[in-house]
Every structure is written in C-alpha cells, then in structure tokens.
Symmetry: C2
Subunit: 302 residues, 2 copies
Amino acid sequence: MSFGAASAQESDITIAVSIPAATHGWTGGVVYHAEQAEKEIEAAFPNIDIVLSTASSATAQVSSLEDLSATRDLDALVILPFTSEELTGPVEQVKSNGTFITVVDRGLSDTSVQDLYVAGDNIAVGANTAHWLADQLGGEGEIVVLRGIPTVIDDERIQGFSEVIAETDIEILDIQYANWNQDEAFTLMQDYLAKYPNIDAVWANDDDMLLGVIEAVDQAERDDIKFALGGNGMKEVIELVMAEDERTPISTPYPPSMIKSAIYMTVGQFNGQAPMRGSFLLDAPLITPENAEQFYFPDSPF
Amino acid sequence: MSFGAASAQESDITIAVSIPAATHGWTGGVVYHAEQAEKEIEAAFPNIDIVLSTASSATAQVSSLEDLSATRDLDALVILPFTSEELTGPVEQVKSNGTFITVVDRGLSDTSVQDLYVAGDNIAVGANTAHWLADQLGGEGEIVVLRGIPTVIDDERIQGFSEVIAETDIEILDIQYANWNQDEAFTLMQDYLAKYPNIDAVWANDDDMLLGVIEAVDQAERDDIKFALGGNGMKEVIELVMAEDERTPISTPYPPSMIKSAIYMTVGQFNGQAPMRGSFLLDAPLITPENAEQFYFPDSPF
C-alpha cells in the first residue's frame, strides 16, 4: 500500500505523446526522438510519466487518443497529428478535460485548441538553401528543381526558394513533382538529364528525393552538376556534409527531433510552471561541415 | 585529482544566465524565477551547471558578460538585455566563441546574433483585455487609459487595445502617461476622477499602475467604475482575481517567469540535442479565477 502510494506520488504528472508510426524515414525519426525524450525526461524528473503511443493512420490515432484519455488523467498531450481535419475534434475532446495541448508540425483546423504550437519553417528551408546556392553560383546558371507531394509544406518550400532565385540571373530549367519519393526522384532526374545538356545545380527540396537524384547523376556520369541539394537533415545527407562532399556540402533541417523540443517545453510547463503557451517557430539554419555534428544522430533511422 | 575529474565530468554543460537585478517588481520576479530554474535544472540534470549573474545597469551587464566568458567555457548564454543598443556588441562577442545565445524579452539590435528568442506578446496583452472589456460593457461606455514609459512595449499594448476598442461604441475619454509608476498612476487617476463624472472602466496597461489606480478610486469612493484592469500578472493582482474581485476579475500575463521558459528550452538543446533555434512567442491568455493558480507564485516578489 505505502509503496503504491509513493509510486503514485512519484509520477504525479502524466504527459501523453501521440505520433504517427514509423511508416517512412521522417516519421521513423519522430518515433526515435520521442523514445529518447521519454528516457531522458523520466530519468531527470521522477515525478513525470511520459506515455508514448504511435498510430499508423488518422483513424488509429483517433482511437489511441480515446484509449489514452479513458484510462488516465492526462496533464498534457503532445500530438503530431496525422491529418488536421480528422484529429481536430478528438483533440478538442481531450482538451475539454483540462489537458494542456501541444501540437507539433501539422496544425489543427481550429488553432484555438492548441496551448503550444511547435513547427518548422518550410519557407526558410527553401530560402536559406537558395541564398547559399545563389552565392555559390555567383548569381547565375541553370538549375532544375524537384517538388514533393502537393501540400502546404511543399508549396512553402518552393515559395521560399523561388522568391530568392527570382532576384538572381539563375534560370530554373524545369520543376516537376516526384512526391518525396526516392524512386520517382531517380526517374524524374533521369528525364531532366536526358533533356538538358547543361545543369549547374539541382534542388531536390527533400533529402529522400536527393538520394534518388544523386544516384541518377552518378549513373549518368554527369559532371556539369556542381551542386545537388536537398533539405530535411536526413542522416545519410548529414554524413555527406560531414565528409565535406563537394556536390552536397550543406543541408537544411526540418528535424523530426522537433517532437523532442515539444516534449521538453511541455515538461517545463508542468515541472517548473514555466509559461509555455504560445508559438515556437524553428529556424532552418544551414547545416555545414562546421556544425553538422549538432544535427547528427547516429542511432536514429533518419 | 580523481574527484576533480569526476566533478568536471558531472557538470560538462555550462549555461550562463544574465539578467537585470531586482530594481522593481517585474525584474524582482525575473530574479526569483531564474533562481528557481537554476535549482530545478541542477537537481534534474547533474551534468548541467547554471551560472546566474544579475546586473544593475547596462554597463554592469556588459562587464558581467566579460567576466562570465573570461573565466569559463560557456555552452550557452541566456540573457535578458538591459538595453538593445549597449548589449548587442558584447553578446556578439560571446557568440563568437561558439556559445549558443538565447535572448529574452528585449531583442538585440541585430537579431542574427540570437539562436533562440523568447518574448511575450504585448499586442495580445492589450487586445485580449479589450475583447473581454468590450464584452462585459456590451460594446459601449466611457473609459480612461493609462500609458507606461514611452517604449515599443507600451506602444504595442496600446495598439492592441485601441484597435479592438475602435470597433466598438466605447469612448476613450482620456489617455496619458504615468510611466509604469504606482505613485504617478495614483495622481493621474485622481486627475481623471476630478475631470470625468462618469467612468465605466479604467485600463492601467500594467499591474503596478493598477494598484495606484485602485487606491485613487477607493479614496474617491467612486462606484461608477465597474472595472479596473491592468496587465502583467503581478502577484497582488492575481490574488484579486483568485478572490473573484468584482472590479478586477481578470489580468493578462506578461510573465517574468518567461526567463524560466528560456532556460528550460536552452537545457533541451544541450541535454537532449532537441532543436531550439527559433522564435518562441508567448500567448497572453486571460487570467481568470478558474486558471489563476497556474499564474500564481506565492513565494515570488511579483
């Protein structure tokens, strides 16, 4: 009895974390970093219990929210929603019990539901890459661009990139969708290579696609291509940056570890009564050989 | 020797915190919350050493930065700058050693110096108060407003408040400066009371000034004044809210505890490699009898 009481008192704050299952590289990283955060926080704060739950679809995430809030009192919920539309109502339901709501990456349809919002800056991902590239090319040259899946995320990255390039003499020869898919990016890049005898640089908008692009360029043995750049901070690409690869010397982060930022911030609200209601917009600083180690997680799948 | 080595390894991350000394209520709160954060963080993370330094002027803060970075390797600096102009260069100097820079509340003149920026939302302080007041007054009535010290902070609060009031039939009878000073607010409110036979509500823009306003209203025994509101979340005013005071039933936070948010976030960057570069804008949710306890620190001077 006394042991039970002591143990209940030890974990008097419960923070649920609801995230997509590791269906592709980026979400694999989210799961990895959420698990790390759980270990770190529980080791540091014996009074805090992190309850982690992954879901492989929006419907499954809705059910898992029902399970989480049916079986315990949640002080906080940190959620990376599968989709905005399907999750907004269920998260609102959890909030109605007095639970603090932290939303990560994809916003809900009704932003008044969230107490804290943590998000990456997709415009900066595009713009910071474009500034670096324009600088390296001396403001002129011919480039090709690959788009992801038609979404706000893709639109913002392309907008950030295009606005900077528009102020230079760099010509975008072609820009088409490859759906953030490595194989589709490989095929699209083969098309670009066949179509354009000179390409100074390629921007793949995402590191998954960049791997397909690099494969196509290597197979074609095309050495006109000075730079092949992506974005996201994938492990394999950070390794290229760390090795001072000439063609891929930089990346820009849109880090799955942002789930960790959200968990640490939520802990501050409950452990220290530190005010954490608000909006945290992550920068997308260039990842260079000098700072790459800060963005590198050798044990993460991403 | 071995003890020294072990102890050096235990505190392998050093985070300096540089803040103004407790010269008035709000900065007294900053010092209190920074001290609390130091205790909480050092208890939770034996590998982190928080080094707290207070300064009573911009010049003293510049010297203390020199001392801090001369005597140890700083992994991070969390700073609430006395002034933007005088501190920008010295903070840039600290950054040049590779130190992560977290800036709180007052921005530096060159924002590229900061890695993380944590700030309150002064427009929301004004706007959220105005929405509540307009609602309570049914969108009409006569009010007076007190301004603080002519600064961006004061301008933003007044802007947020005025824009909302402009969309109602509420008339602002008078609006003058009382420099965030309780005595000056007392005198200005006496003037207002003498000048205007009917005042439905007064907005003091800040809880320090609100205390002066309430004293003047009480001495004059004026019961036409339905609401006397401030802003900041000062302890004495939160106590009024908790007691469900009819004239002061709400406040809005511009919490000195934001120094704690900044310290917890910086810890996440170093303990967990959680990405914390970016901008965190705190909300200013209404403090009501229902949630007042979350904003109440009985042991804090503010």
